[in-house]
């Protein structure tokens, strides 16, 4: 008689030992009813319209693994194995667009399903039921938190990796002529990216021994005050390295913003478009660009 053993344990041993015994009993119960509980859980997942990105078979397969890891975590009291599995699962399902609420949702559903089965098993003895729940609930909540946190961390890691990738991709410093660099800025410029751009540009100036740099911001939709100030600093820093900066492609909106927020761009050389900027730079460097041969009027 499982119940009887549980009761006796409570009487004779300390509280923690008692709850350990109850947990063992619980695990045995969950192992016994594995098939039925798992199916019930998958049914609840489907009816709650969670994990819609996955097929029924996939859900069932994942549910089985999660169920087993879950029971194992309850049994051993350590969440490392489950944590590793959650991380692995997250890695697989994040690219398929599974959301945080779905992952949290399914873990809570499993908790509910199991709690229900405990109600059904122990409803004859309310005292025992409440002790069983005392043992079950903290462990179950810990598991739920572990899985959810694992998923979120994995997702944050993916986002960070993507941010790094975008950042690296989007800041080329290009040499177009001896001693002439162009830096095309594209997209959203946040303070962090602005700082990185500046560092890259200054390193580029030193490496290529540039005299003139054309910064083209045609592809920048908006600038805020801090980024605009950063731009001014970049120009000053470039000058300290002996390079002149020409700013091109300021849109009417950006011009308006800069005037409104009162950023002092007076010291900067600005030219309408990239072509004009490069022509101005060539003039500063003493280049003269002309066609290879004049079209002769006689021919």
């Amino acid at each position: 008689m499982n119940e009887a053993r549980g009761l006796m344990a409570t009487d004779t041993q300390s509280h923690t030992d008692a709850s350990a015994v109850l947990l063992r009993e619980l695990v045995a119960h969950l192992r016994q009813n594995r098939t039925q509980l798992r199916e019930e859980w998958v049914r609840r997942i489907t009816s709650a319209q969670l994990l819609t990105a996955m097929s029924r078979d996939e859900i069932f397969a994942e549910a089985t693994s999660v169920y087993d890891s879950y029971v194992e975590a309850l049994e051993t009291g350590t969440v490392e194995a489950l944590q590793a599995y959650a991380r692995n699962l997250s890695e697989r399902i994040i690219p398929r667009g599974v959301e945080t609420n779905e992952v949290v949702g399914i873990v809570l559903l499993l908790r509910d399903v199991l709690a229900r089965s405990l109600f059904a098993k122990y409803h004859g003895d309310v005292g025992l039921l409440s002790r069983v729940l005392d043992a079950y609930e903290p462990a179950a909540n810990r598991i739920a938190i572990t899985v959810a946190v694992g998923f979120v961390q994995q997702r944050e890691r993916v986002i960070r990796d993507q941010q790094d990738a975008i950042r690296e991709l989007s800041t080329p410093v290009l040499q177009v002529r001896e001693r002439l660099l162009i830096l095309p800025m594209i997209g959203l410029i946040d303070p962090q990216r602005a700082r990185q751009l500046t560092e890259q540009l200054l390193r580029g100036i030193r490496m290529n021994r540039a005299k003139v740099v054309v910064i083209d911001i045609t592809g920048v939709a908006a600038l805020d005050a801090s980024v605009a100030n950063h731009l001014v600093q970049t120009v000053d820093a470039a000058r300290l390295l002996g390079a002149t900066v020409i700013l091109t492609g300021l849109s009417p909106e950006i011009a308006q913003t800069l005037v409104n927020i009162g950023v002092d761009l007076g010291r900067m050389t600005t030219v309408g478009d990239l072509q004009g900027g490069i022509e101005e730079a060539e003039r500063l460097l003493g280049y003269k660009v002309s066609p290879l041969s004049e079209p002769s009027p006689a021919a």
């Binding site: 200054l202 100036i205 300290l240 390295l241 002996g242 390079a243």
Partner: protein
């Protein structure tokens, strides 16, 4: 540590080798302004390649040097500011306004050659 000042043709080259105390900087300013007259130099190059810190006092002295040399009838150019130092300087608002700066010594010499030649033409 005293900064060695080398005479190279019509120019003076002061090459800063290590971090300087305020007294060293004042000493540098004094010697440069004095020697530019003694040697009838046309330009002064201050090489700060070895400096990895530039504080407000140092940049004020550099600006003073440039202004005073100008009053003595020569040109000054600061060469070799490190990219990281440049960034740190402009963040502190030290942008050496009105002072010529170039990437390195070679560029500095080219700058002075060009500047003094066009002065001669005028």
């Amino acid at each position: 540590m005293q900064v060695p000042i080398l005479k190279q043709g019509p120019y003076l080259i002061a090459s800063i080798q290590s971090a300087l105390t305020d007294a060293d900087l004042l000493q540098l300013r004094e010697s440069l302004v004095e020697q530019v007259g003694r040697y009838r130099s046309r330009g002064v190059i201050v090489d700060v390649t070895a400096l990895d810190v530039m504080d407000s006092f140092a940049s004020r002295i550099l600006r003073d040097i440039a202004t005073m040399i100008k009053l003595r009838g020569a040109e000054t150019v600061i060469v070799g500011i490190d990219p990281d130092v440049a960034l740190a300087m402009v963040r502190l608002g030290l942008n050496l306004e009105g002072v010529a700066t170039t990437l390195d010594l070679e560029e500095g010499l080219a700058f002075l050659n060009k500047r003094t030649k066009s002065d001669g033409k005028r």
